[in-house]
């Protein structure tokens, strides 16, 4: 039993295929989706999506601003920005951080500001680990 996983961004369909499991950076914590998971909708924070293929090989992808949907057909991740880890270098990351800083500056109410700040912190952490 494999899990059908799709990762789409407005620019393109980044990943589509059968996988063993997917680990997502949910807003309320990391979660791993296995085959036959109950239907879930979750928002994502900026972070790394780890895909484990049937053989055990893993793919990593950076996502920002997205959400995940699990239904009977499989898992779909919709992300505003999605970059394969192989293509994500320091300059691409700093570009993303710059745009996150713009989000913080543009946030009008406290709640969105808090969230934008949280996102920015996550991304700085990721940059440090790159």
């Amino acid at each position: 039993m494999a899990l059908h996983f799709e990762l789409v961004s407005p620019a393109k369909l980044l990943f589509s295929g059968e996988v063993a499991s997917v680990t997502l950076p949910g807003t309320e914590g990391e979660m791993t989706i296995m085959p036959m998971h109950a239907p879930v909708l979750a928002t994502l924070r900026p972070g790394i999506v780890t895909v484990v293929r049937d053989g055990g090989a893993t793919d990593k992808m950076f996502v920002r601003g997205g959400f995940a949907e699990v239904n009977a057909k499989g898992l779909t991740v919709l992300a505003e920005t999605a970059i394969a880890m192989a293509d994500l270098d320091a300059s691409a990351m700093s570009e993303q951080i710059k745009s996150a800083e713009v989000d913080v500056a543009e946030a009008k109410d406290d709640e969105t500001k808090r969230r934008a700040n949280e996102n920015l912190d996550h991304m700085k952490g990721l940059q440090a680990g790159l």
Binding site: E6, P10, G26, M31, A38, V40, T43, E69, N71, A72
Partner: protein
């Protein structure tokens, strides 16, 4: 009657025009392929988004306190028309057909006593509408000097729309753009964005199961709905970009062909006149010789 020199100049200028239109056609053809690829690449996202939204809308349907972006404000007094057009002309009837559709829509609403507000995206739409509907235009965005549509552009427009909605500036929002059917056919389309018209063709595929939501459904919807607006704007812009290049390509193809026809006609005229002149000169010489 034009002199031979005039005709020669005329032919040279039409030839130059033909060269330009030919070049524009080839540029449009190259851009069209890229624009078409971008439009196709964005399709999965908007399709998945529509499915998720339909599933979620089904889950909260009937509950009170559904977000206004989904359910509407309960009125339909003030309408916002978002009109997406190109930045440049010379693309046949592309811009004017979108503007015409928007104009007809606006006339209908005004006749019903509704209030109309307009937001133009793209310079040409603004040019076409500002003379008659200048007082209705509340926002004008253009992306001059930009090579391709980026997602940021769409989020910018989306954010403006949502800000106006939250301020209560309008009740219903409709977006106008040209749907890309094929190179020779672009269909001006009106699409209602707010309240979100959940696509009729999309059916929920939950099989009766209920979603667990993390965080709760309301919060996800407040996150999802603005994003949906941006996506719809993005899709409209991409479709528009592809349509614009298609329209320009066929317009320039026609222009090139017309220029070719014109050159042929002018050349024939030129040759005839030249021949007539030579004949006339010969006759003059011969009759002069005979008179001696």
């Amino acid at each position: 009657m034009a002199s031979l020199k005039d005709l020669r100049n005329r032919i040279a200028s039409v030839k130059a025009t033909r060269k330009i239109t030919k070049a524009m056609q080839m540029v449009a053809a190259a851009k069209l392929r890229r624009a078409q690829e971008a439009a196709v690449a964005a399709r999965p996202y908007s399709e998945r988004m529509a499915v998720v939204l339909a599933n979620l809308a089904g889950a909260v349907a009937g509950q009170s306190g559904a977000p206004a972006l989904l359910a509407g404000t309960g009125k339909d007094q003030t309408h916002l028309l978002v009109i997406c057009t190109a930045e440049r002309g010379l693309c046949g009837g592309f811009n004017s057909s979108i503007a015409r559709l928007a104009r007809e829509h606006a006339e209908r609403l005004i006749a019903q006593g509704k209030t109309v507000k307009m937001m133009t995206v793209g310079k040409k739409g603004n040019d076409a509408l500002k003379r008659v509907y200048g007082k209705y235009i509340v926002e004008a965005v253009d992306f001059r000097g930009q090579k391709a549509v980026r997602y940021d552009n769409a989020t910018g427009v989306g954010a403006t729309i949502i800000r106006m909605f939250n301020e209560g500036a309008f009740d219903v929002c409709t977006i106008f753009f040209a749907e890309f059917k094929s190179v020779i056919s672009q269909k001006p389309t009106a699409l209602q964005m707010i309240p979100a018209a959940v696509a009729g063709g999309v059916t929920a595929d939950l099989g009766g199961a209920v979603y667990e939501a993390e965080p709760d459904e309301g919060e996800i919807l407040t996150d999802l709905l603005p994003r949906n607006i941006s996506i719809q704007v993005f899709r409209a812009l991409l479709e528009n970009a592809a349509s614009e290049q298609g329209a320009r390509m066929s317009a320039m193809d026609n222009a090139t062909r017309n220029a070719g026809d014109m050159i042929n006609k002018l050349s024939i005229k030129y040759n005839r006149q030249r021949q007539a002149q030579i004949t006339k000169e010969l006759i003059e010489i011969i009759s002069g010789a005979e008179a001696l």
